[in-house]
Amino acid sequence: MTATATGPAAGLPRWAVIGLLPVLNLLTAFAVSGLVVLLIGEDPWRVVRILVWGAFGFEEAIGYTLFYATNFIFTGLAVAVAFHCGLFNIGGEGQAYVGGLGVALVCLHLDFLPFALIVPAAMAGAALFGAAWAFVPAFLQAYRGSHVVITTIMFNFIAAALMVYLLVNVMSEPGSVQPETRPFAAHARLPFVHEILAAAGIRVAASPLNLSFVWALLCCAFVWLFIWHTRAGYRLRTVGFSPPAARYGGISPPRQVLIAMLVSGALAGCMSLNELMGVQHRLLLEFSAGYGFAGIAVALMGRGHPVGILLASLLFGALYQGGAELSFEIPRITRDMVVVIQGLVILFAGALEYLFVPALRLALTRRHGA
């Protein structure tokens, strides 16, 4: 089979497009990040060593890395599902934020339920509220033609205003000036992985890694099944590639747009389970800050495939955790360095995806020609 790619990378073998190109893009992003480190007068190699050690060097670090990765998996999957329907959901930020509201409402007001019921209820709350926040942009895109990119941006800001209002004026603990709710009851929290393992007799260092990591892995499997192995996923992808062909095939594009965005919003909403029910144990301001946008980087790097998203999430989780250690070791480099790397990854793996195509084409044809 002569597998060659089509589109802007036309003429290149598939292995180069799927394997080589992303690696080259990633390396470029890292190289430019290294330049930034040089610019502020630090040694890039030392930074790399601290990052790797900080992310994987000790048990606790690995726990933290996986904890952060959990957030990225949810928001990355959210972006990817919408992408398969040809939609750019950059509202993951707001959907995760409002998803947190769903989690908090369940954990605060349904805490008469036992643990076995409150967990699924909170999961439903996260998904439902996340989906609900995606609904209006989805509906407007599907039936009024308003561009989902713009409306989801607007909804991120509306969500921010809404949550501040709720936390300051409505949901904050009586008598407290902190814009946060009272803590969730003990049985309305997700167990930590180190606790579960301890119960099984395995001792690992304490970290915020909790049960929602397992849910994130399950979501990866669900998304894979949904997108490639169900009729619903087939319909969604048909619309993503060609709305006229979908219509011809008896598939209603507006309906698929709605479905894709709702699933996407639900996945983004689930991110709040990890942060709120897993670690913070209360609803607070800006807990989703940055993760929604980072989901774009994750989905792009992972090329919309759950396995790729999982790997990209691990990379970003490692960067987050390593970045935290980095700011301890080298106070002049803050955790914002990770944000820089993130931006560069989106730039090179996303917008400049085909930067190396001409060079690669040249290199490969020359080798074949010789």
């Binding site: 089509t6 169900t230 319909r235 060609s242 062909a245 011809y248 008896g250």
Partner: protein, 530 residues
């Protein structure tokens, strides 16, 4: 314009030097162009005399448009030379072409819909950093040209609001405003009404009278015979003949175009029509803008016959097809299958036994980035055969797709290739395989052989006839008159949204059909309608 004067006198000098030999206005020598595997132009040469209307004819995909796009700087030739007024010119982009006095009216107009007529005219020829002077100059030129060439257009109207015929005049004005001496028109009558086409030819004759050189790309031989002085014929990327129009005929040109004595004779026996299967009753269809495109159309298609719908494209055939397939709602009237109304939507139609091969396979019939097997179940993805335990059973889809690919000789028969990597003919056979292999009772086909190679065309025609002989009803819409005449048992002619005539295939002459397609028989009836 001192430069032009100099060129004129130089030309006059040349003419004096070489009595009898006139330097052509444009000359292409040995032009060669490939697009990947497609050899679009093979060593093509062409000379066009000054002040003449020169027809360039050939079938779809013969390389006419590519050749002219090279002349206009839209593509760059791999090899070859372009001469204007005898001098070699390097045309790297459209700007060079414009500077060499070449103007082009594209098949799909290159107008900015939101701009006014005058804005469209000055775009790219503003004559200074500020618009004011260029705009008023354009207005003056517009008035003059309108007088001289019957090119009336409202200068301040938004182009998007104008009719197709008027938009085309704006395109011509644009070219003339840039001082074009050589005007290329690519399939200019494709979307025009006969009246508009007549008006266009009047304009072209006046332009010629004023000394302009016109190249007319078309595949409509009647038009070339009517308006041109000389004709060049292209076939499969090569130039095959040049003729003076006065000394040639439609049959000769047709033979040159196709390269065979016999035009598309499809092997088929006598039709044995049975009961009425598909009945369309006073069907009217509107487009997105609310314009009525199909007007009270009624006809039937019986078992065991192929009914063709002929007509100049844009006369409502596409909308009729889409309405039959359930992609467009009927505004009024009924569509019945075996006497019963069909359900709404393409899914329902398909399950009731009406299959549809759409006119545009790349946009609608297939999903190009999909694997072949994914494209092969489009519209049939709900079929329980493709399901196991609630999931899509890709193994079964692959098996089924490979069978279909072999049955329809889709090469290579690999269900996991990307659809876009198949050639046009193989893509079309894939669509046909999908729609025909499920034993539908009615097949509605649009442009089945557009952009398809000769071998595939014959294959497709044989399958359509076989389907007829199996007692199915086939409705065929095609822009190729030859195809309609060769394949169909009855021919309906559509003009301006109506069916204006029905001709049994054996009795159809190209002339008669042509007259009907031009609306000659319809005008009186249209006037009587409310």
């Amino acid at each position: 314009m001192p430069r032009k004067v100099a060129a004129d006198s130089a030309r006059a000098a040349l003419r004096d030097e070489m009595p009898g030999s006139v330097v052509p206005a444009v000359e292409l020598r040995g032009v060669d162009k490939r697009f990947g595997r497609v050899h679009a132009n093979r060593d093509v040469s062409l000379a066009v005399a000054r002040g003449a209307i020169h027809g360039l004819v050939g079938e779809n995909g013969a390389g006419k448009s590519t050749l002219m796009s090279i002349l206009y700087g839209f593509y760059r030739a791999d090899r070859g030379e372009i001469r204007v007024d005898g001098r070699p010119v390097a045309i790297e982009d459209s700007e060079d072409a414009i500077a060499a006095g070449i103007g082009m009216v594209h098949q799909h107009f290159m107008l900015v819909d939101t701009f006014s007529v005058v804005e469209n005219m000055v775009l790219g020829a503003e004559g200074g950093a500020l618009l004011a002077s260029g705009m008023s100059r354009a207005r003056r030129v517009l008035e003059r040209l309108a007088r001289d060439y019957a090119l009336e257009v409202p200068p301040d109207a938004r182009v998007g609001d104008l009719s197709v015929g008027v938009q085309q005049r704006v395109e011509i004005l644009k070219a003339l405003f840039r001082g074009a001496e050589i005007l290329i028109l690519d399939e200019p009558t494709g979307a025009l009404t006969p009246q508009e086409a007549e008006h266009l030819f009047r304009i072209l004759r006046r332009l010629k009278a004023q000394g302009k050189t016109i190249i007319l790309i078309t595949h409509k031989l009647r038009e070339v015979m009517e308006v041109s002085d000389r004709v060049s014929v292209m076939r499969e990327g090569a130039m095959v003949a040049h003729r003076d129009t006065a000394r040639t005929s439609i049959p000769e040109l047709a033979e040159l175009m196709v390269g065979r004595r016999v035009l598309l004779r499809v092997e088929k026996g006598e039709a044995r029509p049975g009961r009425n299967l598909l009945a369309v009753e006073t069907l009217s269809v509107r487009d997105e803008r609310g314009t009525t495109r199909v007007r009270e159309v009624s006809f039937t298609v019986r078992e065991g016959e192929i009914v063709g719908i002929a007509g100049v494209s844009g006369n409502g055939q596409s909308e009729l097809l889409e309405a039959l397939a359930g992609l467009r709602p009927a505004f009024a009237g009924h569509i019945l299958l075996r006497g019963r109304p069909l359900g709404e939507g393409s899914g329902a139609r398909r399950s009731e036994g009406l299959a549809h091969v759409p006119e545009d396979r790349r946009r609608m019939g297939l999903v190009l980035p999909f694997e072949v097997r994914e494209s092969a179940i489009l519209g049939y993805h709900d079929d329980p055969r493709y399901r196991s335990a609630g999931r899509l059973d890709w193994a079964s889809v692959s098996r089924d797709t490979e069978e279909k690919m072999r049955a329809f000789d889709v090469r290579p028969p690999d269900p996991r290739r990307i659809t876009a990597s198949l050639s046009g003919g193989n893509q079309q056979k894939l669509v046909l395989a999908r729609e025909m292999e499920r034993d539908p009772s009615v097949l509605v086909v649009g442009q089945p052989t557009r952009g398809v190679d000769i071998g595939a065309i014959e294959f497709i025609h044989r399958r359509l006839v076989a389907m007829r002989d199996a007692g199915k009803a086939v409705l065929l819409v095609s822009a190729e008159l030859d195809e309609i005449m060769g394949l169909c048992d009855r021919i309906l002619v559509m003009f301006n949204g109506r069916i204006v005539g029905e001709v049994p295939a054996g009795a159809a002459s190209e002339r008669e059909l042509g007259l009907l397609m031009a609306g000659a028989g319809a005008r009186s009836r249209a006037l009587r309608a409310p």
